[in-house]
Symmetry: C2
Subunit: 218 residues, 2 copies
DNA sequence: CTCGGTTTGTTCCCACGTTCACAAACTCCT
DNA sequence: AGGAGTTTGTGAACGTGGGAACAAACCGAG
């Protein structure tokens, strides 16, 4: 995707692998909670719901962190994956659009516990300003630039209606945000160098409906 | 994935294509709202954020619904895609776990407007029972079997904490649900023939964080 | 009817991802 | 020390998906 021109220092990890690393990390955390110190690729793979060969190949992109004949040290591997993903540091995040979904996101404990913390909640509707959600003040959308500059925010979450999403994305990009998580049910366009990931609830249901319909046809 | 043994009547559409059909459908709806009657593959592709060659190939799996030299009839194509996905009919859905996220899902208008309607909200916590969310009564989780049987529910949504997700999934499968949309941050195991799709907010953020970290290293 | 312009449907090729299978490397037991 | 058993890391085969390019098909003008 991005052309890595000079100094091929960092090995580039396939996108499909990157998407699975967080799953492995969560599985390792669960194992660690159960005070399991070591696991085989088979153990971890079944906890993560994947094939063990795929797991080993995925991990091999990070380095050789296992021991043949033994397996992986849970804590060590956990740290290596966290470091590779970048969640050993803490990422400030802004959420725009404090409707039903924005509320749920602001309250979602999985963010804070996994290296992210919500530094601001923004909404265009001034009737919401001053309200506190999950202990964070809801502020005007126009405060975006100031907050991003002050806090060094790189990641923005869009939880607005579809009609507002592109405008919000444009403003985010303008003030320096380079990663966007979009919950609005619309396609947003961004310049090169900005990453967008989309989460769309009704699309997921429609995919299930397709398969469901196929099953019914037998 | 599923072995289609006999009567190869229905062409099987690649999974990647299935995942994009809802996007095309939404783009077509937007065009229809603007009273556009016809569009080229180029028009639709840019509205959907994909390459036009890919769009044409995707549509070709459904049949030949375009006219060379002209393009696609918006309404006709819209109907064909909707029929293929299965959203010309209405799918009953149950949501289990009425916390912050469950609330947001119950209130999400995109479901009803796209061929899905919430027939029941279930929660294990009896303090929530009797409450109405988005006009639907919150009922005990133990009512699951009765509701699924009565209403012919095939699709279940899990919005519980991670610890409860597997149990909920097991109960759903037992009473005949064959498609599950899982919002709980954990991997759930289901038997063959049951489809699971996972939506995981913190995983999406972690993927963004990985790329963000890579950008910062330049 | 024919010709030029347009747009679809499809073929071909390449890149990416998945899985198998096995050599390399480690532990433990005798 | 040596051999049996175990598990990782990886090379190779295979399948799926993406994109360029082009033939087929349609429209409209003359």
């Amino acid at each position: 995707m991005t052309a890595r021109s000079t100094s091929e220092t960092a090995r580039d990890i396939p996108e499909a692998t990157v998407a699975r690393l967080p799953v492995y990390l969560r599985a390792l955390n669960t194992l660690a909670d159960d005070e399991i110190r070591t696991c085989s690729s088979e153990d971890l793979a079944s906890a993560a719901g994947v094939n063990s060969a795929k797991l080993r190949k995925d991990l091999s992109y990070l380095g050789s962190y296992g021991t043949r004949g033994v397996g992986y040290d849970v804590d060590y591997l956990r740290y290596q994956i966290a470091r590779e993903i970048g969640v050993t540091q803490d990422w400030p995040v802004v959420i725009v659009g404090i409707g039903n979904l924005g509320h749920a996101l602001a309250n979602y404990s999985g963010f804070r516990s996994r290296g992210f913390h919500v530094v601001a909640l923004l909404d265009a509707d001034e009737r919401r300003h001053g309200e506190h959600v999950a202990g964070v003040l809801v502020r005007p959308f126009d405060d975006l630039e100031a907050i991003v500059a002050e806090q060094g925010v790189a990641i923005g979450v869009i939880a607005t209606p579809a009609a507002a999403a592109q405008d919000v994305a444009d403003r985010m990009v303008t003030c320096g945000i380079t990663s966007v998580l979009n919950f609005a049910p619309t396609v947003i366009a961004v310049p090169d160098g900005v990453d967008v990931r989309k989460v769309d609830l009704s699309i997921e249901l429609q995919i299930l409906a397709y398969h469901e319909q196929r099953k019914a046809q037998l």
